[in-house]
Symmetry: C2
DNA sequence: CAAATAAGTCAACATGACTGACATAACTCT
DNA sequence: AGAGTTATGTCAGTCATGTTGACTTATTTG
C-alpha cells in the first residue's frame, strides 16, 4: 500500500530543487544559440510569443510577459531593426502597432524551440505513460490561481490573433 | 484508444509555455520576501543549498550552482556579514571554508521555502493520483543527460555533509 | 473639444551574471 | 625542503535584463 503516494516533505524539497535544475537546463540550449547572434533570453521570449500570436499588439505582449514597457522596448527594437519582427499599424485602431514575425523571425523561433521541444518530448517519454497529463496539470497548477484563466487562454488558443501581412504584404 | 497519449506538437509547445509561466510564479513569493530585506534570488539559492547541506565547502557550492566565484562571493559575503551563514575552517584541510546556516539562516530558509513547498503540494494534488512520480521523473529527465547523476546525488542524499558547529559551537 | 489610450522615449538605477588577473594560504608530492 | 597544485578571496570592468517615473505624440472615444 502507498509505496510512494503521499507527498512527504522530502519529495517536495526534491521537486523544488529539480525545478531549479530543470529550468536552468531547459533554457541553456536557446541561450547558447542566442548569444551567438548577440541576443539574450528576453529576445527569445518576445520572438516566441510574437511567432505564436502573429498580430498581437504591444499591450498584449506586455501583459503576457509582465515586464515594463522599457524592458520590452529595448529588445523589441532590436528584433525589428534586425528584421525578425515586423510592425504594422492596425487600421481599425491606428494607435496600435501589430507585431508579426518575418520569415527570418519564424525561422529563428523554430530553431530556438527545437531543443526545448525535444527536451520536453524526451522528458515525457521518461515520465512514462500518462505522464503528459500529469506534467501538464502539475505545471498549470503551479500558477497563481488568479492567473490561471489568463494563462489558459494564452496557452491554448492564442491571444487575439488578427489578420496580417504574410511578410511582404 | 489513445485519448491524449501521444505528445503532439501542440502539447509540447503548451508545456514550453507552461514551464515559463510556472517557473515565474514559483519564484515570485520568495522574491518578494527577499526584496523586503534587501536580498535577491541569488541569496536564496545560496542559503537554500547551505541549509540543505550544512558543512559544504565553497567549491561544492560553486559546482552545484554553476556560477562563477565572483557571483557567489558577492552574495555569500552579505549572507555571512548579516549573520545568516557561518564560515568555519575545515580542520582536516584548512584551505577549505565550510559553510553552515545559523539559526537565523535556517529560519529565513524555512520562510522562503514555505510558499514554494505549498505551491508544489497544491500542484501535485491537482495533478491527481500518481502525479508525484510523473512530475518527479518528468523534471529529472529534463536535465542534461550528463548532469543527471550529479543532480541525483545533490537532490537525494545531500553532498558531502560534514560534521560542524551547531551554531554557537 | 477634452479625456483616455497606445506607443515610444529619456535618464537613472539595481541585480546578478560574466571575464581575467592576481594574492594568499595550505596541502601534496618528489 | 621546495615546487606545484588547490581553495578561497579579491579587484576591476562588462553585459543583460529588469526596475522607476516622467514625458511626448498620435489617435480614439465620450
Amino acid at each position: 500500500m502507498r509505496p510512494d503516494e503521499e507527498p512527504d516533505a522530502d519529495r517536495l524539497v526534491r521537486l523544488v530543487e529539480l525545478l531549479f535544475f530543470a529550468y536552468r537546463d531547459f533554457t541553456s540550449d536557446p541561450d547558447q544559440m542566442l548569444s551567438a547572434i548577440g541576443f539574450g533570453r528576453a529576445h527569445h521570449r518576445v520572438l516566441h510569443f510574437v511567432a505564436r500570436n502573429p498580430g498581437l499588439c504591444v499591450a498584449d505582449l506586455l501583459s503576457i510577459l509582465t515586464i515594463t514597457k522599457q524592458s520590452l522596448a529595448r529588445v523589441l527594437k532590436q528584433l525589428v531593426d534586425e528584421g525578425y519582427i515586423l510592425q504594422q499599424r492596425n487600421e481599425q485602431d491606428r494607435r496600435e502597432r501589430l507585431l508579426f514575425p518575418t520569415e527570418k523571425g519564424r525561422s529563428l523561433a523554430t530553431s530556438l524551440a527545437r531543443p526545448q521541444l525535444e527536451r520536453i518530448s524526451r522528458a515525457l517519454a521518461a515520465a512514462g505513460p500518462g505522464g503528459e497529463l500529469h506534467a501538464e496539470r502539475f505545471l498549470f497548477s503551479m500558477l497563481n490561481a488568479d492567473e490561471q484563466v489568463q494563462v489558459a487562454r494564452i496557452v491554448r488558443r492564442q491571444v487575439g490573433a488578427r489578420q496580417g501581412p504574410e511578410d511582404g504584404a
